[in-house]
């Protein structure tokens, strides 16, 4: 009974303190800034529809900001718009637009500085240079936001979601278009990137630098310079993502550089110029992925070692596997290769003849670019066949000794 009374009292105290402040043209507060000024920790600020041009808005209290019917906060192509410096801030329902491009400062639509537990949900950010920028923060949730940029060149554009020195972040269900990088992580650990769609970015859809123990699952990366770039990182789990149509001269589905002990599982790579490009990629498990109609499905340079490539499906890629080395330090086993021409007499579903996925022609093309025009020529097929019978240029040990007869679906 005593507890109950206490509880009642306690709740009362909260309800007294947690007020709701409304902002609109005819409200008590006509600017967001003024409402923040007057608010206390734990208050909610309800911003009604309208256009707010208030320069840089600093949120330095534990507030919940809710946009009602999509209020527009405009930076007039100049300032950073929201700067969050307090913990547990929640922002929801805003349309944030027009942050000016700057070559000196990383201005953002929402900038979170040294905060914990910030939640940014269901906002629209349009032309905000950097969209959501988080630095030295942790345990934040970035969800259901739509971030549309207008990036044309790498140098004059910002990232849609930019994390720097962060921990335990969740980035979910965002839709990101036309930035430099869709999602950029530098020194970010133990974070999850889930079910985002990032398209048409000038550089990368998702970019890891020096970030460890992270997971990204169920994302779609379409038509970026590279779908995902993972560099100088380890223990990254990459699962169930779709890498689609990342086309261009140096375009990759997944670009790996100095990455260790990670897993690439159940992803789909379709029509990328290069699906996976690996430079010093080490101890990776590449399993159960599907590669379909890519230019190069796997391009692992000689510096990539101790990787296991198993149970993947390779369908109609121009080149399934390419390498620049005459040696092979990786294991290929139990994959399905649509090109495989062997037989299975004992009917165990595994081809009786090993498969060599590297074609001589991929070497020729590396030496003389123009020769790509002879792709699929019967003469080239003859060369490839001869090389398959007696490997001279291609690594003799790069062999899948258990090629599957049927796709692993």
């Amino acid at each position: 009974m005593r507890y109950l009374i206490f509880m009642f009292f306690f709740l009362n105290v909260i309800s007294i303190h947690a007020t709701e402040l409304e902002v609109c043209e005819s409200c008590i507060y006509t600017s967001i800034k003024a409402a923040i000024e007057d608010s206390n920790n734990g208050d909610t600020i309800l911003v009604k529809s309208g256009i707010y041009k208030e320069g840089n808005i600093i949120i330095n209290k534990k507030l919940t900001l809710i946009g009602y019917e999509w209020p527009i906060v405009d930076g007039e192509n100049d300032n950073e718009i929201f700067t969050i410096t307090a913990d547990s801030v929640r922002m929801e329902g805003f349309q944030i637009q027009n942050v000016g491009t700057s070559y000196r400062v990383d201005r953002a639509g929402i900038n979170v500085v040294r905060s914990k537990g910030v939640v940014i949900i269901n906002n629209r950010l349009i032309n905000t240079f950097f969209g959501i920028y988080l630095q030295k923060s942790s345990h934040c949730l970035i969800k259901d936001n739509v971030i549309l940029g207008e990036a044309i060149a790498e140098i004059s554009s910002g990232n849609a979601i930019h994390l720097w020195y962060c921990k335990n972040m969740s980035i979910e269900h965002n839709i990101i278009k036309k930035h430099r990088d869709g999602i950029y992580l530098e020194f970010v650990d133990h974070s999850d990137i889930i079910n985002n769609v990032t398209e048409d970015n000038v550089r990368y859809g998702l970019h890891f630098m020096f970030s460890d123990n992270d997971t990204y699952v169920g994302n779609t990366f379409r038509n970026n310079g590279a779908g995902v770039a993972v560099m100088f990182s380890k223990n990254i789990l990459m699962k169930e993502n779709h890498f689609d149509r990342n086309w261009g001269t140096s375009a990759y589905g997944l670009l790996l550089k100095e990455i260790y002990d990670s897993e690439i599982i159940n992803n789909r790579f379709t029509t990328n110029t290069t699906a996976i490009y690996g430079e010093s990629a080490t101890r990776l498990k590449i399993t159960n992925n599907t590669f379909e109609q890519n230019g190069w499905a796997l391009r692992l340079l000689g510096s990539s070692m101790d990787n296991t490539i198993s149970a993947n499906n390779f369908f109609n890629n121009t080149f399934d596997v390419a390498t620049n080395s005459s040696r092979n330090y990786n294991v290929y086993t139990g994959n399905y290769w649509s090109e495989y021409a062997g037989y299975d007499l004992d009917k165990d579903g595994i081809g009786d003849v090993p498969h060599r996925p590297v074609k001589l022609f991929s070497y020729i093309v590396t030496r003389s670019e123009s020769s790509i025009i002879l792709l699929r020529s019967p003469f080239v097929d003859l060369l490839n066949f001869a090389e398959k019978v007696t490997p001279v240029f291609t690594p003799a040990t790069l062999v899948d000794d258990r090629p599957l007869m049927r796709p692993n679906l």
């Binding site: 261009g248 109609q293 123009s370 025009i373 699929r376 019967p378």
Partner: protein
């Protein structure tokens, strides 16, 4: 011409060879579809077969048909009809019956496997287009060779050589020259080389469907423009048509001057 076409078409369509040719493609397509269980993949496997086989069959049938119907051509020549009509009629009769065997042979199994609703439909249509173009070109080339050479063995050998050259040797020499001149920019050179070979042109048509991802990985501006836009397709297709028109015209020209 239409009359001659009509009868030689009826003759050929009833011939055992048309049926064999049709069955060959039907069985190949059917078994590829059965094995891969995916129209897209079957289309890719068929491409290599078509690039080699359509020209070969067209060449062989072209030469054979011309030599076999020489006496009949003489009978026709004695009729009040233009020379070129006779040859053109026979040319179209053979070409169209071969094309029909080819298109139906591939088309029927693919229809059963639901090509119409598949995303591979464009690829498949381009495949049929490329095969048909090759048939038209190589029957014409075979006729030109046969009209020029009364000696059957000589004509046959020459026709097979032309096929072998265009199908395999040409690309070998092409590749060799790319390596010899590798220090020079070769984009334009290689595109021109391609247009000079009808088999390469058909190959490019198919490649533009199947390998865009890889083709876009190249830096050359000329290549990028050719592969990255519809220019590549339009140029290849029109050059391919030239490869039909020019041999047909030279066949007509030869026929006008020939003593039968």
């Amino acid at each position: 011409m239409i009359k001659i076409f009509k009868y030689s078409f009826f003759d050929l369509i009833r011939s055992r060879w048309s049926l064999i040719y049709f069955l060959f493609f039907a069985v190949t397509a059917g078994s590829l579809l059965y094995l891969s269980n995916d129209v897209g993949r079957a289309v890719v496997s068929l491409m290599n077969i078509i690039i080699i086989l359509c020209p070969l069959i067209a060449t062989m049938f072209g030469v054979m048909y011309y030599y076999n119907s020489r006496e009949f051509i003489e009978l026709l020549l004695a009729q009040p009809i233009r020379r070129e009509s006779i040859l053109l009629g026979q040319y179209f009769g053979l070409t169209i019956s071969l094309t029909l065997s080819f298109v139906l042979g591939l088309g029927i199994p693919f229809l059963f496997y639901g090509i119409l609703g598949s995303i591979a439909l464009t690829n498949f249509v381009v495949l049929l287009l490329a095969g048909s173009l090759l048939t038209f070109t190589f029957v014409a080339l075979a006729f030109v060779i046969a009209v020029k050479n009364e000696n059957k063995i000589k004509g046959f050998s020459l026709a097979i050589f032309v096929w072998l050259f265009l199908a395999v040797l040409y690309d070998g020499l092409f590749l060799l020259s790319l390596f010899i001149f590798e220090d020079y920019p070769l984009d334009k050179f290689s595109l021109i080389m391609t247009t000079l070979n009808p088999i390469d042109l058909s190959r490019i048509l198919i490649m533009l469907q199947l390998d865009v991802s890889a083709l876009l990985g190249y830096t050359g501006a000329v290549f990028n423009k050719f592969f990255g836009t519809s220019i590549g397709f339009i140029v290849s297709l029109s050059c391919g048509l030239f490869w039909v028109i020019i041999p047909v015209l030279s066949m007509v020209r030869l026929a006008k001057r020939k003593d039968f």
